[in-house]
């Protein structure tokens, strides 16, 4: 597990965050978030995690391998209860995790490719305010209102198992949340 301090140090060292870190507690009405997952091999991932850490989130670096992260951290936590996990990783890292997240009945309620332009992905990807900025995306996901996961589900079809809207190496921000509550 990567500590908040390490992420912030890495991000500061790389000149990715200008201001000194100050913790902002998650809003009371925001979705309980277990952790924020990022792939530290990609600069936007580090920036995303640094911002998430500012919001008080625990962060974990997949270093290209979500399998190990699942086995070491998520599996045990999800056995206790379904709790949301957000991330910014290459799209390829999502598939296996999404399968395992089905057991505690978590769903992918947000999926957004981080690239410039305002194309938001296919219609059946859940909609949310658009941002190509990892920091803004982290703010959005860490502050995601608790009721939104359910609302999002009612309003739009969640990405189905067959929808593969992005290429494997596309960098995507995502949120998996329990939706049946």
């Amino acid at each position: 597990m990567v500590t908040r301090r390490q992420v912030l140090q890495a991000a500061a060292g790389a000149g990715l965050i200008a201001t000194a870190p100050h913790s902002i507690a998650q809003r009371n009405d925001s979705l309980p978030l277990h952790r924020v997952v990022f792939d530290g091999r990609h600069e936007p991932g580090v920036r995303f995690a640094a911002e998430a850490a500012l919001w008080g989130a625990e962060t974990s670096d997949t270093r290209g391998d979500i399998a190990a992260l699942y086995v070491r951290e998520l599996m045990t936590r999800w056995r206790k209860s379904a709790i949301a996990v957000a991330g910014l990783t290459p799209y390829s890292q999502l598939f296996g995790l999404r399968l395992m997240a089905e057991t505690p009945r978590l769903r992918l309620v947000f999926l957004h490719e981080l690239k410039s332009g305002d194309v938001y992905g296919p219609a059946n990807v859940c909609r949310a305010p658009l941002s190509t900025d990892p920091a803004a995306t982290a703010r959005l996901l860490c502050g995601w209102p608790a009721h939104s996961a359910t609302v999002a589900r009612r309003e739009s079809s969640i990405l189905s198992a067959q929808d593969h809207p992005f290429t494997n190496d596309a960098l995507v921000a995502w949120l998996m949340a329990p939706v049946s509550a």
Partner: protein
């Protein structure tokens, strides 16, 4: 609303209402969002919505009693069910049923490791336990046992063995010592020694007395399995692989025979055979073609090239013409002695061949020192397989063509010639290039199996052509006596049709039993090519 065939909307709604009363509203799924989880993520029918096999609903019971209630309701309304355990049969149909409109009985919530017995090396499992979870359970408790996990660690021992799947220790159904299942009439049966009242031998003696009916449950539709005795393997002190290679084309036959004999004698635990030179241009998933024009020319020439031509090419390129491999495990001293024995054995038989031993892995493993792509081969299941596919550029999934053939050089060559001809005749150069030349491996001790993944594309026309090619491959291989050991959901009839000896006596026998034990035809119609009377096209 998608309805099961032969079921009225009224009956369907009534059944859903009763499922809800029995399981709770949050465990009965009918919305498009929820049902999307029961679509095959790797569907071969991508871009062909009218062909895709989809569920009408799904239910998630948490106990044997709830499974029984589901079965009772299905009988009452003559509603087809389709049971899955972890439901991750990717490459063979995912969580989707065989018959469109079936109600998936999702057993993921029944995920208790009921018991692990260290002395007798077995686990009593519910269907929803995944390989990853079981292996983690053992590690957490420092139990020195290994589970024969598939590369897809998200799958589980129950579902995998019920599709005759294989793990890193080979044939998984061979590890099943007994089954508890809910029969189509709702009764609970225990097979083998589990049938003895207050019996003690269920986990250790398979056959019990009389017919061993455990074999009725895999790739079939005679019951919903709710518990399984799955044999585990004591962690060895050491595991080590080896390979033998030669530049001589004609060494391939004796090498395959020799490696298989070591296997038959129980000296080695797994074996495989390759011809690296013939396979040099393969662009199968995970392989980069070396683009050697002479390889292509020889493979396409009549009789696929003279041995002398292959020998000359091997010397020119430095790529061996024959290679076999095996794995040894046990106490370190025995591993060392076995490798010595294998080395001497091959040196006597083929003095010019090169023997190389792989890295010795000592248990308990320190996973931090093992690259993640080697975990599965050492008994640590994970999700790396999906990352591997992604790294290799597989975006839309795949489905497997998995024929069995004899573990003999003649059969390997003949199978390659046959498949290459079908691919060439179909004018599918891309597929032929990916195939190249395939060797074989042995999760099963006395036969080789081949896993060729047909990739799924966004182009529906291309997918449709590949479906036809798959069909032709199955039928042509059948003419030569080779058959698939397993098939994607949409190919159950095609593959069952290959097992057609004596006017399909086997299928007719299964269907006679099906009609007797499942008169309403509610359990997994069409699975294994077995159709209940009401859906049968006589």
């Amino acid at each position: 609303m998608m309805l099961p065939p032969g079921v009225s909307e009224e009956a369907f709604r009534a059944a859903i209402h009763e499922f809800t009363a029995a399981l709770g509203a949050d465990q009965v799924f009918t919305s498009e969002d929820d049902l999307s989880l029961y679509r095959d993520a790797y569907t071969p029918y991508r871009g062909m919505p009218d062909k895709e096999i989809v569920a009408s609903a799904a239910v998630a019971p948490v106990s044997v009693e709830q499974v029984q209630r589901v079965v009772h309701i299905a009988n009452k309304h003559r509603l087809p069910l389709f049971a899955t355990s972890t439901g991750r049969n990717l490459g063979y149909g995912g969580a989707a049923p065989t018959l469109s409109g079936s109600v998936v009985v999702d057993l993921k919530r029944m995920n208790r490791v009921v018991e692990v017995n260290v002395t007798d090396c077995y686990a009593v499992l519910e269907p929803g336990v995944s390989f990853i979870e079981l292996s983690h359970y053992l590690r957490e408790r420092n139990i020195p046992l290994l589970v024969s996990a598939a590369e897809n660690g998200a799958g589980g021992p129950v579902g995998n063995s019920l599709d005759h799947g294989v793990g890193f220790l080979g044939d998984n159904f061979a590890r099943v010592c007994g089954i508890e299942a809910v029969l189509p009439n709702g009764e609970v049966i225990r097979t083998g020694s589990g049938a003895v009242s207050n019996g003690k031998l269920w986990p250790v003696y398979k056959y019990g007395f009389g017919p061993d009916v455990s074999g009725l449950f895999p790739q079939a539709n005679f019951g919903i399995v709710t518990k399984m005795i799955f044999w585990l393997e004591p962690e060895p002190e050491r595991m080590q692989g080896f390979s033998v290679s030669s530049s001589k084309h004609d060494d391939f036959g004796p090498m395959v025979d020799a490696i298989q004999m070591l296997r038959h004698k129980g000296i080695i635990r797994s074996s495989g055979a390759r011809n690296p030179l013939r396979a040099a241009n393969n662009s199968t998933v995970g392989m980069r073609s070396r683009n050697i024009p002479e390889v292509e020319r020889l493979l396409s020439s009549p009789g696929d090239g003279a041995a002398s031509a292959w020998d000359a090419l091997s010397i020119a390129t430095g790529i061996p013409n024959a290679s076999v491999n095996g794995t040894v495990w046990g106490p370190a001293k025995i591993v060392v002695a076995t490798l010595d024995h294998a080395r001497e054995h091959f040196a006597k038989l083929l003095p010019h061949a090169t023997f190389s031993a792989g890295t010795a892995r000592d248990f308990p493993l320190d996973l931090a020192t093992v690259p993640v792509d080697q975990w599965v081969g050492l008994g640590m299941p994970n999700l790396w397989g999906f990352q591997r596919l992604a790294n290799q550029g597989v975006n839309r999934g795949h489905y497997y063509f998995s024929p069995l053939f004899k573990a003999q050089a003649d059969d390997i060559f003949a199978m390659n010639r046959t498949v290459r001809k079908v691919m060439a005749d179909a004018n599918e150069p891309e597929i032929l290039k990916r195939w190249g030349w395939q060797g074989g491996g042995g999760p099963f001790p006395k036969t080789y199996v081949l896993y060729y993944d047909f990739l799924v594309y966004d182009d529906a026309g291309l997918n449709a052509r590949h479906l036809k090619l798959f069909d032709r491959l199955v039928k042509t291989c059948a003419e030569h006596g080779w058959a698939e050991y397993r098939a994607p959901a949409g190919f159950q009839d095609l593959v069952a049709g290959v097992y057609a000896n004596n006017n399909s006596a086997l299928r007719r026998f299964c269907e006679t039993m099906k009609d007797a034990v499942d008169p309403n035809g509610i359990l997994s119609p069409g699975r294994g090519g077995i159709w209940p009377r009401r859906y049968r096209k006589e």
